[in-house]
Symmetry: C2
Amino acid sequence: MPYELHYWPMIQGRGEFVRLALEQAGADYVDVARLPHEDGGGIDAMMERLDAEPVRAPFAPPFLKDGDLVIGQTANILLYLGPRLGLVGASEADRIWTHQIQLTIADMVTEAHDTHHPVANGLYYEEQKPEALRRAAEFRENRLPKFLGWFERVLARNPAGPRHLVGDALSTADLSLFQLVDGLRYAFPTATARALEATPRVAALVQTVGRLPRVAAYLASERRLAFSENGVFRRYAELDG
Amino acid sequence: MPYELHYWPMIQGRGEFVRLALEQAGADYVDVARLPHEDGGGIDAMMERLDAEPVRAPFAPPFLKDGDLVIGQTANILLYLGPRLGLVGASEADRIWTHQIQLTIADMVTEAHDTHHPVANGLYYEEQKPEALRRAAEFRENRLPKFLGWFERVLARNPAGPRHLVGDALSTADLSLFQLVDGLRYAFPTATARALEATPRVAALVQTVGRLPRVAAYLASERRLAFSENGVFRRYAELDG
Protein backbone atom coordinates (compact mmCIF):
# COMPACT_ATOMS: atom_id res chain seq x y z
CA MET A 1 0.00 0.00 0.00
CA PRO A 2 1.52 3.36 -0.96
CA TYR A 3 2.26 6.03 1.61
CA GLU A 4 -0.32 8.81 1.53
CA LEU A 5 1.02 12.35 1.93
CA HIS A 6 -1.60 14.98 2.75
CA TYR A 7 -0.54 18.59 2.26
CA TRP A 8 -1.58 21.88 0.64
CA PRO A 9 -1.57 21.06 -3.06
CA MET A 10 -0.31 24.40 -4.38
CA ILE A 11 2.86 24.98 -2.36
CA GLN A 12 6.11 23.30 -1.44
CA GLY A 13 5.81 24.39 2.17
CA ARG A 14 6.64 21.99 4.96
CA GLY A 15 5.33 19.07 2.91
CA GLU A 16 8.31 19.43 0.60
CA PHE A 17 10.67 18.04 3.24
CA VAL A 18 8.61 14.85 3.21
CA ARG A 19 8.26 14.79 -0.59
CA LEU A 20 12.04 14.98 -1.02
CA ALA A 21 12.64 12.01 1.26
CA LEU A 22 9.99 9.92 -0.49
CA GLU A 23 11.33 10.90 -3.92
CA GLN A 24 14.98 10.20 -3.09
CA ALA A 25 14.02 6.79 -1.71
CA GLY A 26 11.94 5.96 -4.77
CA ALA A 27 9.07 5.24 -2.37
CA ASP A 28 5.59 4.39 -3.55
CA TYR A 29 3.48 7.36 -2.43
CA VAL A 30 0.43 9.40 -3.37
CA ASP A 31 0.30 13.17 -2.87
CA VAL A 32 -3.39 12.95 -2.10
CA ALA A 33 -4.49 16.58 -2.10
CA ARG A 34 -2.97 17.02 -5.56
CA LEU A 35 -5.15 14.33 -7.08
CA PRO A 36 -8.12 15.44 -9.19
CA HIS A 37 -11.17 16.42 -7.15
CA GLU A 38 -13.03 13.26 -8.16
CA ASP A 39 -10.21 11.13 -6.76
CA GLY A 40 -10.24 12.83 -3.35
CA GLY A 41 -7.92 15.73 -4.14
CA GLY A 42 -8.26 19.32 -3.05
CA ILE A 43 -7.97 21.31 0.13
CA ASP A 44 -11.53 20.85 1.35
CA ALA A 45 -11.27 17.08 1.12
CA MET A 46 -7.96 17.17 2.98
CA MET A 47 -9.30 19.29 5.82
CA GLU A 48 -12.44 17.16 6.08
CA ARG A 49 -10.24 14.08 6.25
CA LEU A 50 -8.13 15.67 8.99
CA ASP A 51 -11.20 16.62 10.98
CA ALA A 52 -12.85 13.24 10.51
CA GLU A 53 -9.80 11.36 11.77
CA PRO A 54 -11.43 9.53 14.66
CA VAL A 55 -8.65 9.32 17.23
CA ARG A 56 -5.18 10.66 16.54
CA ALA A 57 -5.77 13.62 14.23
CA PRO A 58 -2.73 15.86 13.74
CA PHE A 59 -2.88 19.58 14.49
CA ALA A 60 -2.27 20.57 10.86
CA PRO A 61 -0.91 19.33 7.52
CA PRO A 62 1.39 17.83 6.47
CA PHE A 63 0.36 14.41 7.66
CA LEU A 64 1.29 10.98 6.41
CA LYS A 65 -0.86 7.89 6.35
CA ASP A 66 0.82 4.52 6.42
CA GLY A 67 -2.00 2.01 6.55
CA ASP A 68 -3.94 2.77 9.73
CA LEU A 69 -1.25 5.00 11.18
CA VAL A 70 -1.64 8.77 10.82
CA ILE A 71 1.46 10.85 11.55
CA GLY A 72 1.70 14.62 11.80
CA GLN A 73 4.51 17.14 12.38
CA THR A 74 7.08 17.27 9.59
CA ALA A 75 10.09 16.23 11.68
CA ASN A 76 8.07 13.43 13.24
CA ILE A 77 7.07 12.13 9.80
CA LEU A 78 10.74 12.05 8.82
CA LEU A 79 11.64 10.36 12.10
CA TYR A 80 9.13 7.65 11.20
CA LEU A 81 10.17 7.36 7.56
CA GLY A 82 13.95 7.52 8.11
CA PRO A 83 14.58 3.84 8.89
CA ARG A 84 11.90 2.68 6.43
CA LEU A 85 13.44 4.61 3.55
CA GLY A 86 17.06 3.88 4.47
CA LEU A 87 17.62 7.56 5.19
CA VAL A 88 19.00 7.40 8.72
CA GLY A 89 21.79 5.50 10.46
CA ALA A 90 21.09 2.28 12.31
CA SER A 91 22.31 3.29 15.77
CA GLU A 92 20.17 5.15 18.30
CA ALA A 93 22.92 7.76 18.58
CA ASP A 94 22.77 8.46 14.83
CA ARG A 95 18.98 8.59 14.84
CA ILE A 96 18.72 10.96 17.76
CA TRP A 97 21.41 13.22 16.25
CA THR A 98 19.73 13.19 12.84
CA HIS A 99 16.46 14.14 14.50
CA GLN A 100 18.13 16.89 16.49
CA ILE A 101 19.43 18.41 13.26
CA GLN A 102 15.96 17.97 11.72
CA LEU A 103 14.36 19.89 14.60
CA THR A 104 16.92 22.68 14.26
CA ILE A 105 16.07 22.89 10.55
CA ALA A 106 12.39 23.07 11.56
CA ASP A 107 13.18 25.95 13.92
CA MET A 108 14.88 27.83 11.12
CA VAL A 109 11.96 27.18 8.76
CA THR A 110 9.61 28.73 11.32
CA GLU A 111 11.88 31.75 11.68
CA ALA A 112 12.11 32.15 7.90
CA HIS A 113 8.31 31.98 7.70
CA ASP A 114 7.87 34.53 10.45
CA THR A 115 9.94 37.12 8.55
CA HIS A 116 6.89 37.71 6.35
CA HIS A 117 4.30 36.82 9.02
CA PRO A 118 5.69 38.22 12.28
CA VAL A 119 2.28 39.14 13.72
CA ALA A 120 -0.22 36.55 12.55
CA ASN A 121 -0.55 33.78 10.02
CA GLY A 122 -4.16 34.82 9.54
CA LEU A 123 -3.25 38.28 8.25
CA TYR A 124 -1.85 39.17 4.84
CA TYR A 125 1.79 40.17 4.50
CA GLU A 126 0.67 43.66 3.54
CA GLU A 127 -1.06 43.96 6.92
CA GLN A 128 2.18 43.35 8.83
CA LYS A 129 4.81 44.88 6.60
CA PRO A 130 6.47 47.27 9.08
CA GLU A 131 6.90 44.39 11.51
CA ALA A 132 8.15 42.15 8.70
CA LEU A 133 10.82 44.66 7.71
CA ARG A 134 12.23 44.67 11.24
CA ARG A 135 12.04 40.94 11.71
CA ALA A 136 13.58 40.18 8.31
CA ALA A 137 16.52 42.50 9.01
CA GLU A 138 17.18 40.67 12.26
CA PHE A 139 16.85 37.34 10.48
CA ARG A 140 19.30 38.29 7.73
CA GLU A 141 21.87 39.84 10.02
CA ASN A 142 21.84 37.43 12.94
CA ARG A 143 19.77 34.29 12.60
CA LEU A 144 20.64 33.27 9.02
CA PRO A 145 24.42 33.35 9.59
CA LYS A 146 24.03 31.74 13.01
CA PHE A 147 21.97 28.77 11.77
CA LEU A 148 24.05 28.19 8.63
CA GLY A 149 27.18 28.52 10.76
CA TRP A 150 25.89 25.74 13.00
CA PHE A 151 25.28 23.43 10.02
CA GLU A 152 28.77 24.28 8.74
CA ARG A 153 30.23 23.32 12.08
CA VAL A 154 28.28 20.05 12.12
CA LEU A 155 29.74 19.20 8.70
CA ALA A 156 33.25 20.30 9.65
CA ARG A 157 33.24 18.19 12.80
CA ASN A 158 31.69 15.07 11.29
CA PRO A 159 34.37 12.40 11.86
CA ALA A 160 33.27 10.70 8.63
CA GLY A 161 33.90 13.89 6.65
CA PRO A 162 31.90 16.90 5.50
CA ARG A 163 29.95 15.21 2.71
CA HIS A 164 27.03 14.43 5.03
CA LEU A 165 25.59 15.86 8.22
CA VAL A 166 25.53 12.47 9.95
CA GLY A 167 28.10 9.74 9.35
CA ASP A 168 29.03 8.79 5.80
CA ALA A 169 25.59 8.29 4.31
CA LEU A 170 22.73 10.42 3.02
CA SER A 171 20.02 11.10 5.60
CA THR A 172 16.73 12.97 5.79
CA ALA A 173 18.72 15.79 7.41
CA ASP A 174 20.87 16.25 4.28
CA LEU A 175 17.77 16.35 2.09
CA SER A 176 16.06 18.82 4.41
CA LEU A 177 19.12 21.07 4.55
CA PHE A 178 19.04 21.14 0.75
CA GLN A 179 15.40 22.23 0.82
CA LEU A 180 16.01 24.82 3.53
CA VAL A 181 18.88 26.44 1.65
CA ASP A 182 16.99 26.25 -1.65
CA GLY A 183 14.14 28.12 0.00
CA LEU A 184 16.43 30.67 1.60
CA ARG A 185 18.08 31.30 -1.76
CA TYR A 186 14.66 31.95 -3.24
CA ALA A 187 13.47 34.23 -0.45
CA PHE A 188 16.69 36.05 0.42
CA PRO A 189 19.02 35.70 -2.58
CA THR A 190 21.46 38.41 -1.49
CA ALA A 191 21.63 37.57 2.19
CA THR A 192 21.82 33.84 1.56
CA ALA A 193 24.64 34.16 -0.99
CA ARG A 194 26.56 36.21 1.57
CA ALA A 195 25.98 33.67 4.34
CA LEU A 196 26.96 30.76 2.11
CA GLU A 197 30.31 32.38 1.35
CA ALA A 198 31.14 31.78 4.99
CA THR A 199 29.74 28.24 4.96
CA PRO A 200 31.34 26.45 1.99
CA ARG A 201 30.62 22.96 3.30
CA VAL A 202 26.90 23.76 3.47
CA ALA A 203 27.01 25.11 -0.09
CA ALA A 204 28.82 21.98 -1.29
CA LEU A 205 26.38 19.63 0.40
CA VAL A 206 23.42 21.46 -1.10
CA GLN A 207 24.96 21.20 -4.56
CA THR A 208 25.65 17.48 -4.12
CA VAL A 209 22.11 16.74 -2.95
CA GLY A 210 20.58 18.72 -5.81
CA ARG A 211 22.52 16.57 -8.27
CA LEU A 212 21.52 13.19 -6.86
CA PRO A 213 19.86 11.49 -9.84
CA ARG A 214 16.49 10.97 -8.17
CA VAL A 215 16.45 14.43 -6.59
CA ALA A 216 17.47 16.07 -9.88
CA ALA A 217 14.79 14.13 -11.76
CA TYR A 218 12.19 15.17 -9.20
CA LEU A 219 13.24 18.83 -9.30
CA ALA A 220 12.88 18.79 -13.10
CA SER A 221 9.49 17.08 -12.99
CA GLU A 222 5.99 18.53 -12.77
CA ARG A 223 5.71 17.07 -9.29
CA ARG A 224 8.04 19.81 -8.02
CA LEU A 225 5.94 22.90 -7.43
CA ALA A 226 7.52 26.31 -7.87
CA PHE A 227 8.38 28.55 -4.95
CA SER A 228 5.80 31.29 -4.60
CA GLU A 229 4.49 34.03 -2.36
CA ASN A 230 2.00 31.57 -0.86
CA GLY A 231 4.64 29.32 0.69
CA VAL A 232 6.98 29.30 3.66
CA PHE A 233 9.79 30.95 1.66
CA ARG A 234 8.62 34.15 -0.04
CA ARG A 235 10.54 36.60 -2.16
CA TYR A 236 9.75 40.17 -1.23
CA ALA A 237 12.61 42.36 -2.43
CA GLU A 238 12.26 44.69 0.53
CA LEU A 239 12.96 41.85 2.99
CA ASP A 240 16.29 40.87 1.40
CA GLY A 241 19.52 42.84 1.31
CA MET B 1 26.08 7.80 36.27
CA PRO B 2 23.48 10.55 36.69
CA TYR B 3 21.95 12.34 33.75
CA GLU B 4 23.41 15.82 33.28
CA LEU B 5 20.96 18.56 32.33
CA HIS B 6 22.55 21.74 30.98
CA TYR B 7 20.30 24.79 30.89
CA TRP B 8 20.11 28.46 31.87
CA PRO B 9 20.27 28.33 35.66
CA MET B 10 17.89 31.22 36.44
CA ILE B 11 14.78 30.35 34.46
CA GLN B 12 12.32 27.51 33.92
CA GLY B 13 12.36 28.01 30.15
CA ARG B 14 12.47 25.03 27.85
CA GLY B 15 14.65 23.15 30.33
CA GLU B 16 11.64 22.85 32.64
CA PHE B 17 9.99 20.32 30.34
CA VAL B 18 13.01 18.07 30.86
CA ARG B 19 13.24 18.77 34.59
CA LEU B 20 9.61 17.74 35.11
CA ALA B 21 10.13 14.40 33.36
CA LEU B 22 13.28 13.67 35.36
CA GLU B 23 11.59 14.70 38.61
CA GLN B 24 8.42 12.67 38.04
CA ALA B 25 10.53 9.61 37.21
CA GLY B 26 12.67 10.07 40.31
CA ALA B 27 15.69 9.98 38.00
CA ASP B 28 19.21 10.58 39.19
CA TYR B 29 20.23 13.86 37.54
CA VAL B 30 22.37 16.94 38.04
CA ASP B 31 21.20 20.38 36.90
CA VAL B 32 24.77 21.31 36.05
CA ALA B 33 24.56 25.05 35.40
CA ARG B 34 22.87 25.53 38.79
CA LEU B 35 25.79 24.05 40.68
CA PRO B 36 28.14 26.45 42.49
CA HIS B 37 30.72 28.05 40.22
CA GLU B 38 33.54 25.94 41.70
CA ASP B 39 31.64 22.78 40.75
CA GLY B 40 31.19 23.76 37.12
CA GLY B 41 28.01 25.78 37.45
CA GLY B 42 27.14 29.03 35.75
CA ILE B 43 26.29 30.24 32.29
CA ASP B 44 29.84 30.83 31.08
CA ALA B 45 30.87 27.28 31.94
CA MET B 46 27.77 25.90 30.18
CA MET B 47 28.40 27.84 26.99
CA GLU B 48 32.09 26.91 27.00
CA ARG B 49 31.08 23.29 27.42
CA LEU B 50 28.64 23.56 24.52
CA ASP B 51 31.26 25.16 22.30
CA ALA B 52 33.96 22.67 23.29
CA GLU B 53 31.77 19.69 22.47
CA PRO B 54 34.01 18.05 19.89
CA VAL B 55 31.55 16.49 17.47
CA ARG B 56 27.81 16.66 18.01
CA ALA B 57 27.27 19.98 19.76
CA PRO B 58 23.63 21.11 19.96
CA PHE B 59 22.52 24.45 18.59
CA ALA B 60 21.49 25.77 22.00
CA PRO B 61 20.56 24.73 25.55
CA PRO B 62 18.87 22.73 26.91
CA PHE B 63 21.04 19.73 26.30
CA LEU B 64 21.29 16.45 28.14
CA LYS B 65 24.38 14.34 28.67
CA ASP B 66 23.96 10.64 29.21
CA GLY B 67 27.46 9.24 29.43
CA ASP B 68 29.13 10.07 26.11
CA LEU B 69 25.89 10.98 24.38
CA VAL B 70 24.95 14.67 24.09
CA ILE B 71 21.36 15.40 23.11
CA GLY B 72 19.84 18.77 22.21
CA GLN B 73 16.35 20.03 21.30
CA THR B 74 13.81 19.74 24.11
CA ALA B 75 11.40 17.40 22.32
CA ASN B 76 14.31 15.25 21.19
CA ILE B 77 15.58 14.97 24.77
CA LEU B 78 12.14 13.81 25.86
CA LEU B 79 11.97 11.37 22.94
CA TYR B 80 15.22 9.88 24.21
CA LEU B 81 14.22 9.88 27.88
CA GLY B 82 10.64 8.64 27.44
CA PRO B 83 11.35 4.89 27.30
CA ARG B 84 14.18 5.16 29.84
CA LEU B 85 11.99 6.91 32.40
CA GLY B 86 8.87 4.83 31.74
CA LEU B 87 7.09 7.91 30.41
CA VAL B 88 5.96 6.67 26.99
CA GLY B 89 4.04 3.66 25.71
CA ALA B 90 5.88 0.62 24.39
CA SER B 91 4.47 0.56 20.84
CA GLU B 92 5.92 2.59 17.99
CA ALA B 93 2.44 4.02 17.34
CA ASP B 94 2.25 5.35 20.91
CA ARG B 95 5.76 6.76 20.78
CA ILE B 96 5.28 8.54 17.50
CA TRP B 97 1.94 9.97 18.67
CA THR B 98 3.42 11.10 21.98
CA HIS B 99 6.23 12.81 20.09
CA GLN B 100 3.78 14.45 17.71
CA ILE B 101 1.95 15.96 20.68
CA GLN B 102 5.29 16.99 22.15
CA LEU B 103 6.22 18.83 18.96
CA THR B 104 2.86 20.58 18.91
CA ILE B 105 3.48 21.70 22.50
CA ALA B 106 6.90 22.96 21.35
CA ASP B 107 5.25 24.96 18.56
CA MET B 108 2.92 26.59 21.05
CA VAL B 109 5.82 27.38 23.40
CA THR B 110 7.57 29.18 20.54
CA GLU B 111 4.42 31.14 19.73
CA ALA B 112 3.95 32.09 23.40
CA HIS B 113 7.56 33.26 23.52
CA ASP B 114 7.19 35.28 20.35
CA THR B 115 4.31 37.29 21.84
CA HIS B 116 6.91 39.27 23.81
CA HIS B 117 9.71 38.88 21.26
CA PRO B 118 8.04 39.14 17.84
CA VAL B 119 10.97 40.90 16.17
CA ALA B 120 14.17 39.56 17.68
CA ASN B 121 15.34 37.54 20.63
CA GLY B 122 18.36 39.81 20.83
CA LEU B 123 16.28 42.94 21.53
CA TYR B 124 14.57 43.87 24.77
CA TYR B 125 10.80 43.59 25.04
CA GLU B 126 10.64 47.37 25.37
CA GLU B 127 12.25 47.66 21.92
CA GLN B 128 9.47 45.67 20.25
CA LYS B 129 6.41 46.56 22.27
CA PRO B 130 4.10 47.77 19.47
CA GLU B 131 4.76 44.55 17.58
CA ALA B 132 4.26 42.54 20.77
CA LEU B 133 0.87 44.11 21.40
CA ARG B 134 -0.34 43.03 17.96
CA ARG B 135 1.12 39.55 18.12
CA ALA B 136 -0.17 38.92 21.65
CA ALA B 137 -3.70 39.94 20.67
CA GLU B 138 -3.59 37.47 17.79
CA PHE B 139 -2.20 34.79 20.11
CA ARG B 140 -4.90 35.32 22.74
CA GLU B 141 -7.78 35.48 20.30
CA ASN B 142 -6.83 32.75 17.83
CA ARG B 143 -3.82 30.63 18.64
CA LEU B 144 -4.41 30.01 22.35
CA PRO B 145 -7.98 28.68 21.89
CA LYS B 146 -6.95 26.73 18.79
CA PHE B 147 -4.04 24.92 20.46
CA LEU B 148 -5.89 24.21 23.72
CA GLY B 149 -8.86 23.07 21.64
CA TRP B 150 -6.65 20.56 19.89
CA PHE B 151 -5.37 19.14 23.19
CA GLU B 152 -8.98 18.95 24.41
CA ARG B 153 -9.91 16.99 21.33
CA VAL B 154 -6.96 14.63 21.79
CA LEU B 155 -8.15 13.93 25.34
CA ALA B 156 -11.79 13.59 24.33
CA ARG B 157 -10.96 11.11 21.58
CA ASN B 158 -8.50 9.01 23.54
CA PRO B 159 -10.08 5.52 23.52
CA ALA B 160 -8.56 4.88 26.97
CA GLY B 161 -10.32 7.93 28.40
CA PRO B 162 -9.51 11.61 28.95
CA ARG B 163 -7.19 11.18 31.93
CA HIS B 164 -4.10 11.07 29.69
CA LEU B 165 -3.13 12.34 26.26
CA VAL B 166 -1.87 8.93 25.12
CA GLY B 167 -3.36 5.64 26.26
CA ASP B 168 -4.03 5.04 29.94
CA ALA B 169 -0.67 6.01 31.41
CA LEU B 170 1.26 9.17 32.22
CA SER B 171 3.66 10.29 29.49
CA THR B 172 6.11 13.11 28.88
CA ALA B 173 3.31 14.78 26.87
CA ASP B 174 1.04 14.99 29.94
CA LEU B 175 3.85 16.51 31.99
CA SER B 176 4.69 18.98 29.22
CA LEU B 177 1.06 20.01 28.80
CA PHE B 178 0.99 20.75 32.53
CA GLN B 179 4.03 22.98 32.17
CA LEU B 180 2.66 24.69 29.08
CA VAL B 181 -0.65 25.54 30.74
CA ASP B 182 1.10 26.57 33.95
CA GLY B 183 3.19 28.99 31.92
CA LEU B 184 0.20 30.29 29.98
CA ARG B 185 -1.66 30.89 33.24
CA TYR B 186 1.28 32.91 34.48
CA ALA B 187 1.72 34.94 31.29
CA PHE B 188 -1.90 35.38 30.22
CA PRO B 189 -4.05 34.77 33.31
CA THR B 190 -7.23 36.25 31.87
CA ALA B 191 -7.02 34.79 28.37
CA THR B 192 -5.94 31.38 29.65
CA ALA B 193 -8.76 31.15 32.19
CA ARG B 194 -11.19 31.96 29.38
CA ALA B 195 -9.69 29.33 27.06
CA LEU B 196 -9.69 26.68 29.80
CA GLU B 197 -13.42 27.16 30.37
CA ALA B 198 -13.88 25.71 26.89
CA THR B 199 -11.36 22.91 27.48
CA PRO B 200 -12.33 21.23 30.76
CA ARG B 201 -10.41 18.03 30.04
CA VAL B 202 -7.21 20.00 29.64
CA ALA B 203 -7.89 21.82 32.91
CA ALA B 204 -8.55 18.52 34.69
CA LEU B 205 -5.39 16.89 33.35
CA VAL B 206 -3.28 19.85 34.42
CA GLN B 207 -4.75 19.67 37.91
CA THR B 208 -4.12 15.93 38.14
CA VAL B 209 -0.51 16.24 37.00
CA GLY B 210 0.16 19.08 39.44
CA ARG B 211 -1.01 16.84 42.28
CA LEU B 212 1.14 13.83 41.45
CA PRO B 213 3.19 13.33 44.61
CA ARG B 214 6.59 13.72 42.96
CA VAL B 215 5.49 16.67 40.81
CA ALA B 216 3.88 18.38 43.80
CA ALA B 217 6.99 17.82 45.91
CA TYR B 218 9.14 19.24 43.12
CA LEU B 219 6.93 22.29 42.64
CA ALA B 220 7.15 23.01 46.37
CA SER B 221 10.92 22.58 46.45
CA GLU B 222 13.71 25.07 45.91
CA ARG B 223 14.59 23.24 42.71
CA ARG B 224 11.50 24.76 41.05
CA LEU B 225 12.44 28.24 39.88
CA ALA B 226 9.77 30.94 39.80
CA PHE B 227 8.29 32.21 36.55
CA SER B 228 9.79 35.57 35.67
CA GLU B 229 10.14 38.15 32.93
CA ASN B 230 13.38 36.48 31.82
CA GLY B 231 11.72 33.25 30.75
CA VAL B 232 9.61 31.92 27.91
CA PHE B 233 6.35 32.83 29.68
CA ARG B 234 6.30 36.47 30.77
CA ARG B 235 3.60 38.44 32.49
CA TYR B 236 3.15 41.84 30.93
CA ALA B 237 -0.33 43.09 31.82
CA GLU B 238 -0.71 44.85 28.49
CA LEU B 239 -0.31 41.57 26.59
CA ASP B 240 -3.17 39.81 28.42
CA GLY B 241 -6.86 40.51 28.30
